[in-house]
């Protein structure tokens, strides 16, 4: 609104209270407020569970939204944007190179594609049909690292070769071996650990990759695996880092990232064309990592611990309830709370409590839900929601008390 208009408006109105207190009259071209959740009948809920894809991951930070908004009014070349954002992310994560992908699964596939094709676009066009192309076709992986997400590799046409011991690795390597893959959250006792896996890869002159999608926090994991020397690292962007849910990062050796980009959009004849990230997501991912590195992780951790303590205290105030707080070791490494109860005193099953929380107002999603317990992860709650969750859990437990 221009000054001229304001004066005009003011002069038309008798001076009484109100005209200046009304913010809306000065608002710049406001779009009609819409509640799309309501319009579509989609239930929103308080997330007391964690960063789960089917639960829409996490909530983008305001600075990510600012980035999306502020870059949405201009065109730019996507390759140039990937180059420049990639350089910045690589510098922040101690990697030689990086790119923004449409999630960690996409990063796994594109990194694999890069290893298979090198810088040959003809080969990129042949994926995922490897036979007769001269491309290698096997990836060595530990049996304990078997999860659904390894399909990101087999989608490129490779076969997984399962091993348990270093000797198995030596025996498994042959002329068709493309790489050795490692699951970050599978690094548990009795398995070959990161350093040894990398030593084996070096011994056989093979690239080694790691899936560490949900393995942040700690923040140091953003660079730990690059420092160790993994050839490529796949990271989710829409979890703890709170970038766009449909974004992730592929980082690692320069030649592999360059080759991976051959198989990614905006290139057309590629297996990755459908894995689109747009300009706003690419920039949003950059801003999210930048801010994540700068944030006070200790303070954030303390805050999560306080949340757990608050909920634990309220729950335990109900007779018969016990709680246990702990931190999952690798994936979803944040303060977590198990709440269990004596069913003689509280006549409720875990599933029953989950249902009651889900069907309450506001709806709350927790998890676990055994015979007499549930689990709560408070890190994805907005600050104002901690109190609500605390109150609701206590209320339901109390209601079921004899």
């Amino acid at each position: 609104m221009k000054r001229r208009d304001l004066i005009k408006a003011v002069s038309l109105i008798p001076f009484s209270g109100g005209i200046f207190t009304s913010k809306s009259s000065f608002a710049k071209n406001p779009l009609p407020k819409q509640d799309l959740f309501k319009e579509l009948g989609v239930r929103t809920f308080i997330n007391a569970r964690g960063t789960i894809t089917f639960m829409s991951g996490s909530l983008m930070h305001d600075y990510v939204l600012d980035a999306i908004n502020s870059t949405s009014k201009d065109f730019c070349m996507l390759e140039e944007l990937q180059d420049k954002v990639g350089e910045k992310i690589a510098a922040m994560t101690h990697a030689e190179a990086a790119m923004v992908t449409s999630g960690a699964f996409s990063a796994l596939s594109l990194g694999m594609a890069g290893i298979l094709t090198g810088l040959d676009p003809k080969k990129a066009e042949q994926l995922p049909h490897l036979s007769g192309t001269g491309m290698k076709s096997e990836v060595i992986i530990q049996k304990k690292h078997q999860i659904h997400y390894n399909q990101a590799l087999t989608n490129c046409g490779v076969k997984l070769v399962w091993v348990e011991t270093p000797d198995d690795v030596d025996r498994a390597v042959n002329e068709n071996t493309a790489s050795m893959h490692f699951l970050g959250s599978g690094a548990v006792e009795g398995t070959i650990m990161h350093e040894e896996w990398l030593a084996l890869a070096r011994k056989h002159n093979l690239p080694a990759s790691i899936d560490m999608a949900a393995n942040v926090p700690p923040v140091s994991n953003l660079w730990a695996f690059n420092d160790m020397g993994f050839s490529y690292v796949a990271l989710s962007g829409g979890k703890a880092i709170r970038g766009p849910q449909s974004a992730g990062v592929l980082m690692g050796k320069k030649d592999i990232i360059a080759a991976a980009r051959l198989s990614a959009s905006p290139n057309a004849a590629t297996i990755g064309r459908g894995m689109k990230v747009n300009k706003e997501e690419i920039i949003g991912m950059y801003v999210a990592i930048d801010r994540y590195l700068k944030q006070d992780h200790e303070k954030e951790w303390k805050d999560w611990e306080n949340r757990v303590a608050t909920i634990a205290k309220a729950a335990e105030s109900v007779n018969g309830v016990t709680t246990k707080s702990y931190v999952p070791p690798i994936a979803d490494h944040t303060p977590t709370l198990d709440i269990s109860w004596d069913t003689d005193k509280i006549h409720l099953t875990g599933t029953g409590l989950l249902e009651a929380l889900r069907n309450g107002n506001p709806s709350i999603e927790a998890y676990g839900g055994g015979k007499n317990s549930i689990t709560v992860s408070p890190w994805m709650m907005r600050p104002d929601q901690v109190k609500i969750v605390t109150g609701r859990i206590k209320e339901e437990l109390k209601k079921a008390s004899s």
Binding site: L78, S106, Q151, N155, Q245, P266, A269
Partner: protein, 408 residues
């Protein structure tokens, strides 16, 4: 408006006590924008060149610019969690209603839609098959395409492990169906077809095989959003980030209910199917819904006339340069079927080729991407107007004039 300006403005008016009281409260409502932090210019920070798009909606050029309604949808839905299965179902149901079709879903673009549609035809609801894609132990599933329809994007089909069977003419197509056939794909914007859309659909129906039409860049006209399902195609895809102006990483897949349901099973948030890496987030799904709604409600005639007047504006400016002639060119489609400005000149007078001007526009500041078109075998400068922001029309007009003038 700045606070200072309000006060100055008010100084012109007689002040009463009541007004003074109001003025104090007013300070509060004006303080909000003032306290806003300085805008971060991320293009500058990254050293990425902003580009004015005087071309068409190209993926490598970040597609198109999202409508305000889309930004509003993204912003207003970003502060709450939702169940992604439920969201996809409910947005799909609304979009299906809007598109007069059985079912619809949001994908991460038209290429993703091609892949999910193919996967759906291969797997149906069979969880085992969903797991095996794309590594088929036996014969590969087959997808029928016309020879003249083969294009870069058909790798979406082979990415599912399928094989493309090329045919020419209805007879060859008729004979190509066999036990391994899972789908037939029609590329709507192909230069020529040996099988018409109608025959294509009829043959697919005869053999009971789903037909899929890729119409990625084929609105306007808006009617095309309804045309192909009415014609009998079982699945249709449109890009979301082109003229519909949704998120660039979003697209539409719609058609037969059983196929769309099977496509969803092959997509995120399911854990590890072939479509898992083709993620669309909550905000993009809402954004795509808002974009489609806005596109269907738009006054297309007014929009078209606005494009024509932009062309006039640029043409008049360019024609101020000696020997330069402009004319409106309407691309017959089906892809990018909208008007643009063809500029030609006497190269004895203006000593530059169309390619030279195109390159000078791109290298200049601001950087402007235009195209080189072909008119009667001659190269012409093709200036697009549909993706210009209103404030960019004169910028383009002036730069074009400046460059041409400079070459005299």
């Amino acid at each position: 408006m700045k606070r200072r300006e309000v006060i100055k403005g008010l100084g012109l008016l007689p002040l009463s006590g009541a007004l003074m009281g109001n003025l104090l409260t007013a300070e509060k409502s004006f303080s909000a924008p003032k306290s806003k932090k300085i805008k971060r210019d991320l293009f500058d920070e990254l050293g990425v060149t902003r580009v004015i798009n005087a071309g068409v909606t190209m993926t490598f050029l970040s597609g198109s610019l999202m409508m305000p309604e889309v930004m509003e949808a993204i912003n207003s839905t970003s502060h709450d969690f939702a169940n992604m299965y439920e969201l996809q179902d409910k947005v799909g149901a609304k979009m299906a209603e809007m598109l007069q079709v059985e079912a619809a879903m949001v994908t991460s673009g038209a290429a993703c839609a091609l892949l999910l549609g193919t996967a759906a035809c291969i797997t149906g609801k069979d969880a085992e098959k969903i797991k095996i894609i794309p590594n088929w132990p036996g014969a590969r599933p087959e997808v029928i395409m016309q020879k003249s329809h083969r294009y870069l994007f058909d790798q979406a089909i082979t990415t599912c492990g399928a094989k493309i069977i090329e045919i020419e003419g209805p007879d060859e197509m008729d004979k190509a169906f066999n036990n391994n056939t899972v789908m037939a794909l029609f590329f709507n914007a192909a230069d020529n077809s040996s099988v018409s859309r109608e025959d294509f659909v009829a043959l697919c129906k005869k053999h009971n095989i789903p037909s899929f039409i890729d119409a990625a860049a084929d609105v306007p006209p808006v009617e095309n959003l309804f045309k192909y399902q009415k014609m009998g195609f079982d699945m249709v895809t449109f890009s979301g980030g082109k003229m519909i102006r949704g998120p660039q990483s979003a697209g539409l897949l719609f058609g037969r209910k059983d196929l769309i349901e099977a496509a969803k099973l092959n997509h995120s948030p399911h854990e590890a199917p072939i479509g898992r890496p083709m993620k669309v987030n909550k905000e993009e799904i809402f954004g795509m819904y808002a974009a489609l709604k806005s596109y269907l409600e738009r006054d297309h005639k007014k929009e078209w006339n606005d494009w024509l007047s932009r062309i006039e504006r640029i043409r008049k400016k360019a024609e101020q340069v000696k020997s330069v002639k402009g004319e409106t060119n309407v691309n017959p489609g089906p892809a990018n079927a909208f008007p643009s400005l063809y500029l030609t000149w006497d190269q004895e007078v203006v000593k530059m080729t169309a390619n030279d001007v195109q390159s000078a526009l791109q290298k200049g500041t601001p950087s402007i991407v235009a195209n080189v078109g072909n008119k009667d075998g001659n190269k012409v400068l093709n200036v697009g107007v549909v993706l210009l922001r209103p404030d960019q029309v004169d910028v383009v007009a002036n730069r074009v004039k400046e460059i041409l003038e400079h070459a005299i």
